[in-house]
């Protein structure tokens, strides 16, 4: 059978960044400001009413009027014209700094990140050094050596700024370098140059563009600062030198300082807002896709729901075996629904009308493929649904209380004490900053209210109980010092530390090696026997189900399609989906058989043109 791809519309990802920025309010506004400033600077020779450098003694500190639109400065030069021409130099200077920073930072970052080795060591060391140096001081020192050249100081500043790009690119590249698709490209015989150009530059492009806008703003501000201190090139007009002039004459003509300050502020704010807008847009590029994927999921579930209704909706329920244990009902889930709120106000339903019961001392397996809603069902019992998820209907009765409608405060009393949880990924569920011991003791002290020494004694006993050979050593170890199998044992110890009535295990052995899995399964069976717990075991592995479960529910597209005692499911599955799953099991299939070279005679090359 062929899986057909979902009929998704072409996503917004292909729309250019520029177009998307135009629809972003602050993005469009800041682009407009920057465009106007750049245009005005570029058209300075046409727009300017005076020559920016011609001093006129009669017009010294002239007020704004018909002769000088914005007045004149201390040398009688026209402020408006100077502002326009200064724009050329200020912007160009900032661009020079940006270009230098980009070329140095991105190239070095790519090389160091991709190849590593000595270049990585040297450039990282240099970067650290440069970041430690105060930029302003270096620029002042440089001026003393090379003289008051705006271009040179901007180039030097560009070098000082390059670490910003280096670190950004370096981090992205080291993250991508070990991606499998880069390995695949290497196996395909692509040159390093091509791999960097094709696979790696695309990853760093977005953050570099964002960073560029920020750096441009910084460069303009620093340049203005330098000139303001009077350390600039006196022969060219810049916003900074105008600021300097205005500050000297602030009491005689207060407006002089206003115009350059305004334009510097405006440009810097516009650049920063533009960077933010670009970050919004570039990072949101996955937004619409996610939405459409979820929409597709909704459609799929709606389809499945429709189909199920046509088929008669109800799950196949197998009767209990005669003489089966009729112990107390621990958990009763009725008509449970779980949904995720979407940004557009609708709700995506991932679990629909699920019924589930667990008796004391019974292991109930929840089986299904990815996306079938089995984990969502388990999490909703713990009331630990991820962001945006909520129980949309039904009830979860546990010890006479409806967990679906319990307050968060009451729920905290149930969670951990009465209902415990074992996760799939043992390593990511232990905090690397604390020792195993402290992570085991903390919950016991809170939920059992016992002293530290008592908790320590119990934690050590628990570690011994879950089969850890040297409890004392593991107690004092940090999570990274133990293996995955050990970590899972620790988590199991933690889960049973408060002697819960119900244990929810979400794929507890999926991340483990098969020999470790066998031991963890044995451990779970022993503990379950000893504590007489009810267990909900979420898994996709029918071997695990056969090993541990008394009862099985098979889930598909958020619904339970078949439920019953474990033997009834394995030996007499009636729902087509359950049968399909059981048929996919490989355990009993015949081995491949003997190698038969006669059957694989060399066939003609299919693609002559490809041969090199």
């Amino acid at each position: 059978m062929i899986e057909t791809p979902l009929a998704l519309p072409v996503t917004a990802a292909k729309v250019s960044l520029f177009r998307r920025l135009l629809t972003h309010p602050t993005g469009a506004a800041s682009l407009l400001v920057l465009f106007l400033v750049a245009l005005a600077s570029a058209l300075a020779p046409i727009l300017a009413t005076h020559d920016p450098n011609t001093a006129n003694l009669q017009d010294v500190l002239a007020k704004a009027g018909s002769e000088h639109v914005l007045g004149a400065d201390s040398a009688g030069r026209d402020v408006f014209s100077r502002l326009l021409f200064a724009g050329q130099f200020s912007l160009a200077g900032a661009l020079v700094a940006l270009a230098v920073a980009l070329v140095l930072g991105v190239t070095a970052g790519l090389i160091a990140g991709y190849y590593g080795g000595w270049f990585d060591a040297v450039s990282s060391w240099l970067t650290g050094l440069m970041m430690a140096l105060p930029g302003m001081v270096v620029l002042l020192a440089a001026r003393a050596v090379v003289g008051p050249s705006m271009w040179l100081s901007m180039m030097i500043f560009g070098v000082m700024l390059s670490p910003a790009f280096f670190r950004l690119v370096y981090a992205s590249v080291t993250a991508v370098r070990n991606e499998l698709y880069v390995d695949a490209a290497r196996v395909s015989g692509l040159s390093d140059f091509r791999i960097i150009g094709r696979h790696i530059l695309t990853v760093v492009r977005a953050p570099v563009i964002i960073q560029s806008a920020m750096v441009l703003g910084i460069a303009i501000a620093i340049q203005a600062g330098l000139e303001f201190l009077g350390l600039g090139d006196l022969n060219i007009p810049t916003w900074g030198s105008m600021l300097n002039d205005g500050f000297i004459n602030i009491f005689k003509s207060p407006t002089l300082v206003l115009w350059p300050a305004l334009i510097i502020g405006l440009v810097c704010i516009a650049l920063t807002l533009l960077a933010n807008a670009m970050r919004d847009e570039l990072e949101r590029s996955r937004g619409p896709v996610k939405k459409s994927r979820k929409a597709a999921a909704t459609a799929a579930i709606a389809d499945a729901a429709g189909a199920a209704e046509k088929r008669g909706a109800a799950a196949v329920v197998h009767p209990d075996e005669p003489g089966a244990d009729k112990s107390e009902l621990l958990l009763e889930v009725t008509d449970l629904g779980v949904g995720y709120d979407q940004p557009d106000g609708s709700t995506t339903h991932v679990v629909n009308h699920v019924n589930l019961t667990v008796r004391r001392g019974e292991v109930h397996g929840l089986v299904g493929e990815s996306g079938s809603g089995k984990t969502q069902t388990a999490f909703s019992i713990l009331r630990l649904l991820p962001q945006g998820g909520r129980i949309t209907g039904g009830s979860i009765f546990f010890e006479g209380k409806d967990l679906a409608h319990l307050s968060e405060k009451d729920m905290t009393k149930v969670r951990g004490k009465r209902i415990a949880y074992i996760p799939q990924e043992p390593m990511s569920n232990l905090d690397g900053a604390f020792t195993i011991g402290s992570q085991l003791m903390e919950p016991m002290r809170v939920c059992l209210g016992i002293s530290k020494t008592e908790a320590r004694k119990r934690a050590l006993a628990l570690l011994a109980k879950v089969g850890i050979p040297n409890p004392e050593r593991t107690f004092n170890a940090y999570p990274h010092q133990i293996s995955g199998g050990m970590a899972q044992r620790v988590l199991i110890a933690g889960a049973v530390s408060c002697e819960p009535d119900l244990l929810i295990a979400d794929e507890p052995t999926t991340a483990l090696d098969v020999t470790v899995q066998a031991e963890v399964l044995n451990l779970l069976r022993e503990l379950q026997d000893e504590l007489n717990m009810g267990v909900i075991l979420v898994t996709h592995n029918f071997g695990v189900v056969a090993d541990l479960c008394d009862r099985v529910s098979v889930m598909q597209s958020g619904r339970v399609v078949e439920t019953g005692p474990v033997r009834a499911i394995f030996n007499g599955a009636r729902h087509p989906y359950t049968r399909q799953l059981l048929d996919a099991i490989l355990e009993d299939t015949a081995p491949r058989g003997q190698y038969n070279p006669a059957g694989t005679t060399a066939e003609p090359q299919e693609l002559k043109g490809v041969a090199s």
Binding site: P5, E369, Y595
Partner: protein, 286 residues
């Protein structure tokens, strides 16, 4: 006697550890096996056994510090970049994780034509080749202009297989290619592997931790443990009646999807472990 396609002899792979003058970490401690044309060799082992490292060593992605890897009689363990480029015609790869082995920002067509354009195949020929490849892995033609994220795990793995087939290789290293897939998808992708092999005569080095998968696909099976091959031979023999104690433990550990047989299997496993413990004790005493 048919010729040998790949001959791996006493291969050692060492990774330098951080720190001055520290002994490097030996991922492979002298591993030997061979693959014939059109044959599937399964490589089973648990995490850290070195099975993935062996696959990467064949691909030139792991530092081989000893032994030899010969492809059609030619030493390739120290091949230059140019030689590797030539070899990419012969040896290809399908990785485990279909979510990270495809560049998320490239369309399926770009992904499939990439290995072709390196060889300066004309655009038209390349496009035709893409259509043919999509056919081979049973994906609809409309898939070419879509991005990887629009596909499910099984479909992505089909794309990865198509990319590996693009250059008509003689050997594909498959690194856990079905481990991340759902049960029914896994079965279909495995059928695809067999079907492609029967049609094109490509050989597989099939790395997996799943014994059932390896049993189903492999003509011969090698079992790895701590960087060494502990058992190596005919697939039916190794997976049916393993001789090495580790292989026996490994096969007893996998649960059988049948409650009654699993209960017996479980008891057998515990008996086996006790027996092996006793043997170890006796060996220690002797």
């Amino acid at each position: 006697m048919t010729e040998t396609l790949l001959d791996v002899k006493d291969v050692v792979v060492e990774y330098p550890l951080k720190g001055f003058r520290r002994e490097p970490f030996k991922a492979l401690k002298g591993v030997s096996l061979d693959i014939r044309p059109g044959e599937t060799v399964g490589l089973v082992g648990e995490s850290g056994s070195g099975k993935t490292t062996l696959g990467r060593a064949v691909l030139g992605l792991a530092p081989v510090t000893g032994g030899s890897i010969k492809y059609r009689g030619e030493e390739i363990s120290k091949a230059s970049r140019a030689k590797r480029k030539e070899l990419s015609h012969e040896i290809q790869v399908v990785f485990q994780d279909p979510y990270t082995s495809l560049n998320p920002s490239m369309t399926i067509e770009q992904i499939l034509t990439e290995p072709l354009t390196v060889r300066k195949v004309e655009r038209q020929t390349a496009n035709k080749r893409v259509a043919d490849l999509l056919d081979q892995v049973r994906l609809p033609q409309g898939a070419a202009h879509r991005l990887p994220r629009e596909f499910s795990g099984g479909q992505r793995q089909r794309v990865a297989i198509a990319r590996a087939l693009a250059l008509d290789p003689k050997l594909i290293v498959c690194d856990e290619p079905v481990s991340a897939l759902d049960l029914s998808t896994q079965a279909r992708v495995m059928e695809l592997f067999i079907e492609i092999q029967e049609r094109t005569g490509v050989a597989y080095l099939f790395v997996s931790h799943d014994l059932a998968v390896v049993r189903h696909l492999s003509h011969r099976v090698a079992v790895m443990y701590h960087g060494e091959i502990v058992e190596w031979g005919d697939g039916e023999q190794v997976t049916g009646a393993p001789e090495h104690p580790y292989t026996q433990r490994l096969f007893m550990a996998a649960p059988i999807p049948d409650p009654d047989r699993q209960a017996k299997h479980r008891a057998d496993r515990i008996r086996l472990l006790e027996l092996q413990n006793q043997q170890d004790l006796q060996a220690g005493a002797a």
